[in-house]
């Protein structure tokens, strides 16, 4: 990952420079895209606000083309060169306007040579007839074309040349004059004149793709079939972006969004999940190789007398792996292999046994985390499907039976969106947990506490949105307690949201401020219980029961001089604040 980070450092610098150029030339319409300086001055502790602030732009194909055209126009105007030349330059310097400018003004001649833009255009000689350099036929000069170098080729040969290059791939964007000793660039202007239909379209497609794929600030959304690209303000906090197709992914590593876990951990985890190494571990832990033919054998029952399957048919002792023929009376009887015991004492079997033991332990540990990771994954998929069916059919039905306008039922969609997001976070906390060092007991404990609380909170929300809502869906007519349900679900959503934000924050800071986060977490937890606990029938949260019974009436504000209690989440806020520190609810 080291080199990756280096690259981003370089990018940061570049963004600033782009900003500079935007300002100087005064033609930038993209000031909004480069508000990177503002982002940076934010209090870096406030991760949440970073997330809420959009630090990326979703680009449709039309947007991409527009941006590309704007960039080309800018370079073309500033350098006073034709648009096709500006396009070639930009492509050569990965669509970075600042680099084009830097290089060009530093050493124009060198740049021109590198990309094949000649200083002076050489016109085709005006002889009456010219020989095409490819087919060697003679044509009147009116039927010949050439790049800026003046090497004449006939239309048919140009078409063949360009077409071959286009079918070879994106290299066609760097096309040069066919003459081997000439390096003159063949730009889009010639492509447009000399080719038609399919080739023209493909070329334009490659040009568009290049703007995204060669550009260090833009990436395609990796969701299958999605045609949006995401432009990211590098150096502006979280990499998680959400495409207009609703797919969330990490802009840095292009895996699905994985806050609060970092890209390196995710890569390790994904590799581990797909790796054969776990298979190997399993084989190592649960089988022994036949001492004769070396095939792995799993002992699933019975005595220590193992007979390998044909064609080997070797008979041996499972314990000592010695041939069974030696296991007579003199070895201490068939079922008590003392050779093993004595050999173990001598240390002969120790190493392989220990390895097997370790592999077994590590496998169990991995399985524990993997199962939970995978369960949350599938639970999220299910939630996504539920969300979809809610949006497409159920909401309408609910609106009918409960006589509520759909606009008043948004809280249900919000709840489901929250569930989907929380499942994702929770899933990744299991990868986090797997890689959290065993010996950091305090951190582990705190992490497991946070995770456990988050998980049970989420279970409650999920249960409420899934099961309790069903009652109202199935109802014949409007039910009187629907408003209570609304309060409950909205409250659960908001509290769970807060809770997960705390969890994410704690994990992203590497569980450093164990003390303070712990307080917050505890408060948040108990607050969720206080406001909602009395209604909740779910017994899943152990910590809930005690605190809720003590607090009495829910949703009641109090003011004890120094603190005020939020009437949404009951968090005790300092008097000086006007919005709840926990849920941002106004006093």
């Amino acid at each position: 990952m080291g080199s990756e980070e280096d690259m981003h450092d370089a990018n940061d610098v570049q963004s600033v420079e782009d900003d500079f150029y935007t300002g100087e030339t005064g033609m930038g319409s993209e000031d909004d895209d480069y508000n990177f300086g503002d982002n940076y001055s934010d209090d870096s502790e406030d991760v949440t606000s970073h997330r809420q602030q959009q630090n990326y732009t979703i680009l449709s194909e039309a947007d991409i083309r527009q941006h590309q055209d704007e960039n080309i126009n800018r370079v073309s105007t500033v350098l006073s060169i034709p648009r096709y030349a500006a396009c070639i330059l930009l492509r050569h310097y990965n669509w970075s306007i600042s680099r084009v400018h830097d290089e060009w003004f530093a050493d124009e001649e060198h740049v021109r040579k590198a990309v094949g833009l000649l200083d002076r255009t050489v016109e085709i000689s005006n002889a009456r007839e010219l020989t095409c350099g490819i087919c060697f036929e003679n044509y009147p000069c009116g039927r010949m074309s050439s790049a800026s170098c003046g090497h004449p080729f006939c239309g048919a040969c140009w078409r063949g040349y360009i077409s071959t290059s286009i079918s070879d791939g994106p290299g066609c964007l760097m096309l040069r004059c066919p003459d081997p000793s000439c390096g003159a660039a063949v730009g889009r202007n010639m492509i447009d004149v000399l080719t038609t239909g399919e080739d023209k379209e493909k070329y334009s497609r490659y040009l568009l793709r290049s703007y995204v794929e060669d550009n260090r600030k833009i990436k395609w959304c990796p969701a299958p079939g999605c045609e949006f690209a995401v432009e990211f303000v590098i150096g502006s906090g979280s990499y998680d972006v959400c495409c207009s197709c609703s797919y969330s992914f990490c802009w840095n590593c292009a895996e699905e969004a994985h806050r609060p876990v970092d890209c390196a951990t995710v890569a390790k985890w994904i590799l581990k999940n797909s790796a054969e190494s776990e298979n190997m571990n399993w084989i190592l832990a649960n089988s022994k190789p036949c001492p004769k033919c070396k095939r792995p054998i799993e002992k699933n029952q019975g005595c220590m007398h193992i007979t390998c399957t044909p064609p080997c048919k070797f008979e041996f002792c499972w314990l000592c792996l010695g041939p069974w023929s030696e296991h007579g009376e003199r070895t201490g009887g068939f079922y008590a292999c003392n050779r093993y015991e004595s050999a173990k004492q001598e240390g002969a079997y120790d190493e392989s046994e220990r390895r097997r033991e370790m592999a077994k332990n590590s496998l169990e540990r991995y399985t524990h985390y993997y199962e939970r990771w995978a369960t949350n994954q599938s639970s999220r998929q299910k939630a996504l499907a539920d969300l979809h069916s809610m949006q497409t059919e159920k909401l309408e039905k609910l609106s009918d039976t409960q006589s509520q306008p759909e606009s008043q039922l948004k809280f249900i969609i919000e709840a489901w969106l929250q569930i989907v997001e929380c499942r994702r976070v929770l899933k990744w906390t299991y990868a986090y947990g797997y890689y959290l060092p065993e010996h950091e007991h305090a951190k582990r404990q705190f992490f497991e506490y946070l995770q456990g609380e988050a998980e049970s909170g989420l279970e409650r929300l999920h249960q409420c949105a899934e099961k309790e809502l069903q009652v109202y869906l199935d109802a014949e007519g409007p039910m009187t307690d629907f408003n209570d349900f609304r309060t409950k679900l909205a409250g659960l959503t908001s509290v769970t949201k807060n809770y997960f934000e705390n969890l994410v924050r704690a994990l992203e800071t590497g569980l450093k401020d164990v003390g303070t986060s712990n307080n917050q977490a505890t408060c948040s937890k108990s607050s969720s219980c206080k406001s909602l606990g009395s209604k909740s029938k779910s017994g899943k949260i152990k910590a809930v029961a005690g605190s809720s019974s003590g607090s009495g009436a829910p949703s009641r504000s109090f003011d004890d001089g120094n603190l005020w209690s939020c009437d949404r989440c009951t968090y005790a806020n300092p008097r000086s604040t006007t919005t709840c520190q926990m849920c941002e609810h106004h006093r």
Binding site: I134, D179, P180
Partner: protein, 196 residues
């Protein structure tokens, strides 16, 4: 689709000054398929390939001249950029550096130049390349020997015929003398050997 008219022009152009250029192209096996050609280059002077005549199999893909011709040495040759096993050639203009403005003649001339100036850092045949770099003398000797043995026009195919007749039970010296006396005609030599 192969540009037939261009290939015909190329053949005519190339074979006009064969004596000077030292390269020539003919239809493969005297056939009529313009996509299957046979090139000949003479070994450049002051190299271990001097005096040799090298046959090159040329296949023109349907995209020719926009796609490069496929070339391969038929004559065995000891050279770092040419496979000693199958005659495959490592030369940039036959791959990504091909341009439709190049011709078969220029390609053959490039091969000739490659014979004079091997590029052992970009080898096709690792064994030969290593020998070229580490034991230049042996390399020169081997290359010269291979030229003598395989690229001498008169010796083309002779070795095979000798081998065949020796396997029939005739002494090698006699076989060589007999073959020489009948100008390499295998059947005539066999008749003579049997009747003697």
């Amino acid at each position: 689709m192969l540009d037939v008219s261009r290939v015909q022009k190329e053949l005519a152009e190339c074979n006009r000054d064969t004596a000077i250029s030292g390269v020539s192209i003919a239809l493969h096996d005297g056939g009529s398929d313009l996509s299957r050609l046979s090139g000949t280059i003479s070994g450049p002077v002051a190299t271990p390939y001097e005096g040799g005549t090298f046959q090159i199999d040329i296949r023109l893909p349907s995209g020719y001249p926009f796609e490069p011709p496929k070339m391969q040495f038929v004559t065995k040759v000891w050279h770092p950029n040419i496979s000693s096993q199958n005659g495959a050639i490592c030369l940039d203009i036959l791959k990504d550096q091909w341009s439709p403005a190049l011709t078969l003649k220029t390609a053959l001339l490039s091969l000739q130049a490659l014979l004079s100036a091997p590029e052992p850092d970009d080898p096709q045949d690792a064994v030969v390349a290593q020998q070229y770099l580490r034991d230049h003398q042996t390399f020169m000797a081997t290359a010269r020997y291979w030229t003598e043995a395989f690229a001498r026009r008169s010796s083309v195919g002779i070795e095979e015929k000798v081998q065949k007749l020796v396997e029939m039970g005739f002494p090698e010296d006699l076989v060589r003398n007999t073959l020489e006396s009948v100008n390499g005609d295998e059947n005539q030599a066999l008749e003579m050997l049997c009747s003697s």
